[in-house]
């Protein structure tokens, strides 16, 4: 029997039982499409995280307190009293003259609401020093960044990111305007004077949504930021290093400076380079991808079992047909060909439909918000190809045993069946 004839028989059998065939394929449609979608989610997430880390700048080292409250947690301000990192640490690192260290800036960042007139927007408020512009390579579009004079003074000045500026001052020049920052859900509201607007940063850059204020000015208002010795508590210190230097060496030098200052042996801080962050993030998202892929793989397996189940039922139901075909000269190989091809075709129908739906769904939800998070979908060509071949493999595997069973049917008994 030629393959074309076998395929004709297959199509006839599939279309004779349209609903059953469609339901059988559905298992694989769901399996294949979820493989593609979930891998796209995993890879998209990884890409997003990587972009964010790259968006921070280049050649950065981050020092954080081992006990610091993170910015986004509720009550972030109160949690600041816990931190074990200080403005004085930043100054000490800079003063130590570590080779490769270009600029150092301490910061306190908290979530806030920026209000100007009738406009308001959620921002990340970053209280820092004038050094921050050098560390993060920030340029102002108008006005100035926090100046060294602001580092000493009590003035409440703010430099706003480009998106904040667009939202709060759609009509007027922001520099010289007042912006009020509301912390801890409105329990603390401070008025600031806008002294600069930052240039828009490309990509997934957080700077566009940030407001920078003078750390000293903030500390004057939030007295608890001061330690008894007059130092200022901070959540993070960013260090800009020269490119091409030995980062591990710089990290060790910084660690030594901080330990010396503390007269301690065990650090109460963590030092991470951008590469460290990337590595950690990639590890997390690779684990995520594998997890998501495995879940999708299980649904693909279930789909395959569904195909095999239906093929077994089909063989039993068609015992008489098999007997007739044997009587008119079908060999065992012909019977195997028929049933394997049927399972394969059902699986490939499911696989192709699943690819179409998976790719379609990925494209459709790409860039949409889900629970406040923007979904980034990165369709991996290899996942589409792999899904197709897995579907084909499932078809072959789930068709083989039923096909073998079909050949064991005794034609004499099959023909006697009424």
């Amino acid at each position: 029997m030629s393959l074309a004839d076998a395929f004709r028989i297959t199509l006839r059998a599939i279309f004779a039982n349209r609903l059953r065939s469609a339901l059988t394929s559905l298992g694989l449609v769901i399996g294949v499409s979820s493989v593609i979608v979930l891998i796209a989610v995993g890879q998209g997430t990884q890409q997003g995280v990587t972009d964010r880390i790259h968006g921070l700048g280049t050649d950065l080292i981050f020092i954080e307190s081992s006990r610091a409250a993170t910015t986004s947690q509720a009550g972030g301000i109160a949690g600041l009293a816990e931190t074990t990192l200080f403005q004085g640490d930043a100054e000490a690192i800079e003063a130590a003259g570590i080779p490769g260290v270009v600029a150092v800036a301490a910061q306190v960042s908290v979530e806030a609401h920026a209000v100007a007139g009738s406009e308001n927007v959620g921002v990340e408020a970053v209280a820092t020093s004038s050094r921050y512009a050098d560390v993060r390579d920030l340029e102002v579009a108008s006005g100035t960044f926090i100046t060294p004079r602001d580092d000493e003074g009590r003035g409440l000045v703010a430099v706003i990111g480009s998106r904040v500026a667009e939202t709060l001052y759609p009509e007027v020049e922001p520099v010289g305007q007042e912006v009020r920052l509301s912390f801890v859900g409105g329990r603390l509201i401070l008025p600031f004077t806008v002294i600069g607007v930052l240039e828009e940063q490309g990509g997934a850059n957080e700077v566009n949504d940030q407001v920078f204020v003078s750390l000293e000015g903030m500390a004057q208002r939030l007295r608890f930021l001061f330690t008894p010795t007059g130092d200022v508590r901070v959540t993070r210190i960013d260090v800009q290093t020269a490119s091409g230097i030995d980062e591990d060496r710089v990290k060790e030098d910084i660690s030594n400076v901080l330990l010396y200052r503390r007269e301690a042996i065990e650090p109460d801080f963590t030092i991470q380079s951008q590469d460290d962050l990337l590595k950690a993030a990639t590890e997390v998202s690779t684990t995520l991808s594998i997890l998501l892929g495995s879940i999708a793989g299980i649904s693909l397996l279930v789909g395959g079992i569904g195909v095999m189940n239906i093929m077994l039922v089909s063989v039993t139901e068609r015992t008489r047909e098999i007997g007739i075909r044997r009587a008119v000269g079908a060999t065992a190989a012909d019977i195997v060909k028929q049933f394997v091809m049927e399972a394969l075709t059902l699986s490939l129908f499911g696989g192709i439909a699943g690819i179409a739906i998976g790719v379609g769904l990925s494209v459709a939800v790409d860039g949409r918000e889900l629970g406040g998070q923007q979904l980034t979908m990165l369709i991996q060509p290899w996942s589409v190809v792999a899904a197709f071949f897995v579907a084909a493999g499932v078809g072959l595997a789930s068709g083989s045993y039923p096909a073998y069973r079909a050949t064991t049917i005794d034609p004499i008994a099959a023909l006697r069946m009424e």
Binding site: V328, G329, T331, A333, L415
Partner: protein, 234 residues
């Protein structure tokens, strides 16, 4: 053309062995019309299955023409079955949802034969179903269905046509009509027919009658010396 020598077929059902055929010798020549008669359990269907290569003898020799086919492997038997034999069954055994033309094409598909459509249509014309080519079984009467089955067995130009109670599901008049068609095929086209039946009336159409009981031939109206010796020896 068909030469059976001491053919036995034993089915083992657990501890007990059932001797469906207990040493049968039979020769059938080209162009013969043989009726195999006997009650159910006499072994007549087993004999037909062995002749048609659907079953294998457990002992004895089966030669088809010059060729010993008693020990052929399964695939070779399947191919020879498709080319050499046509089957007609009591229950028609047509495939559901296929048109008459497709039913008749089926054996040719497995042979990979060319010109299938035309040959299938011709076979349907031979059995008088020229106007039923596009009909599916549910649209055909019992007699018509059996004639489709007949066309399906004729389309390969078989050496032997094997008919197992072909009139069993038909009323008398339709059955009679089918038997006349078979007779005509034997007389006019030299077809060899082996007919299995338990109805004496149907068997009268045949030129030769072989009676069976308990897996043995007890009477053969057309046996020749050699075959008779084998058939009556026990």
């Amino acid at each position: 053309m068909i030469h059976l020598r001491d053919v036995a077929r034993v089915y083992s059902a657990g501890e007990t062995a059932v001797h469906a055929l207990a040493g049968v010798s039979l020769d059938i020549d080209r162009g013969e019309f043989v009726a195999i008669m006997g009650q159910s359990g006499s072994g007549k269907s087993t004999l037909m299955n062995i002749i048609g290569l659907l079953d294998r003898p457990t002992a004895g020799e089966y030669r088809l023409g010059e060729r010993d086919v008693s020990r052929l492997p399964e695939d070779a038997r399947a191919r020879l079955r498709g080319r050499g034999f046509g089957f007609v069954f009591q229950s028609y055994n047509l495939l559901p949802r296929m048109t008459a033309l497709e039913q008749v094409e089926l054996p040719l598909i497995y042979q990979g034969a060319p010109d299938r459509r035309r040959r299938a249509a011709e076979a349907l014309v031979r059995v008088g179903l020229a106007d039923r080519i596009r009909h599916v079984p549910t649209e055909l009467s019992g007699g018509e269905q059996q004639r489709v089955a007949l066309a399906r067995s004729l389309v390969v130009n078989p050496l032997v046509l094997l008919a197992d109670e072909p009139t069993g599901a038909l009323d008398t008049a339709t059955g009679e009509e089918l038997m006349r068609l078979l007779t005509a095929l034997v007389d006019e086209q030299g077809l060899t027919v082996v007919l299995v039946t338990h109805e004496a009336e149907v068997a009268t159409h045949a030129r030769r009658t072989v009676r069976m009981r308990d897996g043995r031939i007890i009477e053969d109206t057309g046996a020749r010396a050699g075959a008779r010796a084998g058939g009556t020896a026990s």
